[in-house]
């Protein structure tokens, strides 16, 4: 019985996702509780049912942990997300400003080297992505222990804005027959992803640092 329990593993992606959203306080207990129940359920009702249960628990648990992070420090979380939004706006404007300065100064050069100009444009898009990655890292660093909640929230804000921009561009396209700048929209769609990757990098680094510390024993709270 016991050997069967240990040969079955819960879904790795679900376990990884849970690990991203748990605070230092819950990093041991929640994955341990889920694994314990998963093992019992797998031996009692079968692996497929246990896996489904695990995924259901993962979804609900992440929702509750994210909600809990906002409920426990609503003003702090709002400040971190708004700060990230403003920083993103500031950093995103920089590559464009630099590019326009350069193109204005060397207009004659660019007009005869169009391919180089296109290459610089692509470089600017990459610079935008790097800026988003940096913003994700900064937001995660500021959100101490709630890295993924803060960066996912900021990414969702940009997803919402991207969705509105896409609908707007589609409406303009239908109304005026002016083609959409699909390439630019696709690049902009990577922004939320880059922000989350930034959060993921900081979160992973913090988790590695936490795992290397000795585990405390004894009472907490009152």
């Amino acid at each position: 019985m016991m050997s069967q329990e240990f040969s079955v593993h819960p879904p790795r992606i679900a376990t990884w996702l849970i690990g991203l959203f748990t605070s230092d306080h819950e990093a041991e207990a929640i994955p341990g509780d889920l694994l314990e129940e998963f093992s019992h359920l797998a031996s009692k009702s079968g692996v497929a049912i246990a896996r489904r249960w695990y995924w259901r628990q993962t979804g609900k648990t992440i929702t509750h942990l994210a909600g809990g992070a906002f409920r426990s420090a609503p003003w702090f979380m709002a400040a971190v997300v708004v700060g990230g939004f403003l920083l993103h706006g500031f950093l995103h404007a920089l590559p464009g400003k630099v590019l326009s300065e350069v193109t204005d100064r060397y207009l004659a050069f660019w007009s005869s080297h169009f391919q180089a100009y296109m290459w610089v444009l692509n470089g600017m898009m990459i610079a935008h992505l790097m800026a988003s990655l940096l913003v994700g890292c900064m937001v995660a660093l500021a959100a101490k222990g709630r890295e993924m909640v803060a960066t996912v929230t900021l990414a969702l804000v940009y997803c919402g804005m991207g969705g509105v921009a896409l609908v707007g561009a589609a409406l303009v396209w239908v109304a005026t027959d002016r083609p959409m700048n699909v390439a630019w929209l696709l690049w902009a769609g990577w922004d939320p992803f880059a922000i989350m990757v930034g959060g993921l990098i900081v979160r992973t680094r913090r988790a590695q640092g936490r795992d290397s510390l000795p585990k405390p024993l004894g009472m907490t709270g009152v």
């Binding site: 041991e28 509780d33 509750h64």
Partner: protein, 110 residues
């Protein structure tokens, strides 16, 4: 006495589960006890989010147990209701009893 001294429904249920389980109260047993008695599916995240809130309020204290192999070498986090928590449960109970006194809930509202 301020309104914040009263417990929310799930907070109340969690504290009652901790009192029932006594020194066996950790995430798995609390979740299963609530599911068994209330017949509603509860996520481990909901249990921990509420327990953390109760710990912040001083109604609950926790300690880490020894790591066990069945949990992949992870420790259990045991919870215990504090004296302040017991007072909060009693107060909420009294308030509910007082509010339901004289109401024939089964016949009138079922």
């Amino acid at each position: 006495m301020s309104g914040r001294d009263y417990l929310g429904e799930f907070e109340h249920i969690i504290l009652l589960a901790l009192l029932r389980l006594d020194d066996r109260a950790y995430g798995v047993t609390v979740r299963q006890e609530i599911e068994f008695r209330t017949k509603r599916e509860v996520s481990i995240g909901a249990v921990y989010a509420t327990l953390d809130r109760l710990e912040t309020k001083g109604y609950v204290k926790s300690r880490l147990g020894e790591p066990t192999p069945e949990r992949g070498g992870r420790s259990k986090r045991f919870f215990q209701v504090t004296a302040k928590g017991v007072v909060a449960v009693s107060r909420t109970h009294r308030a509910l009893r007082s509010m339901t006194e004289g109401l024939d809930l089964v016949r009138s509202y079922a």
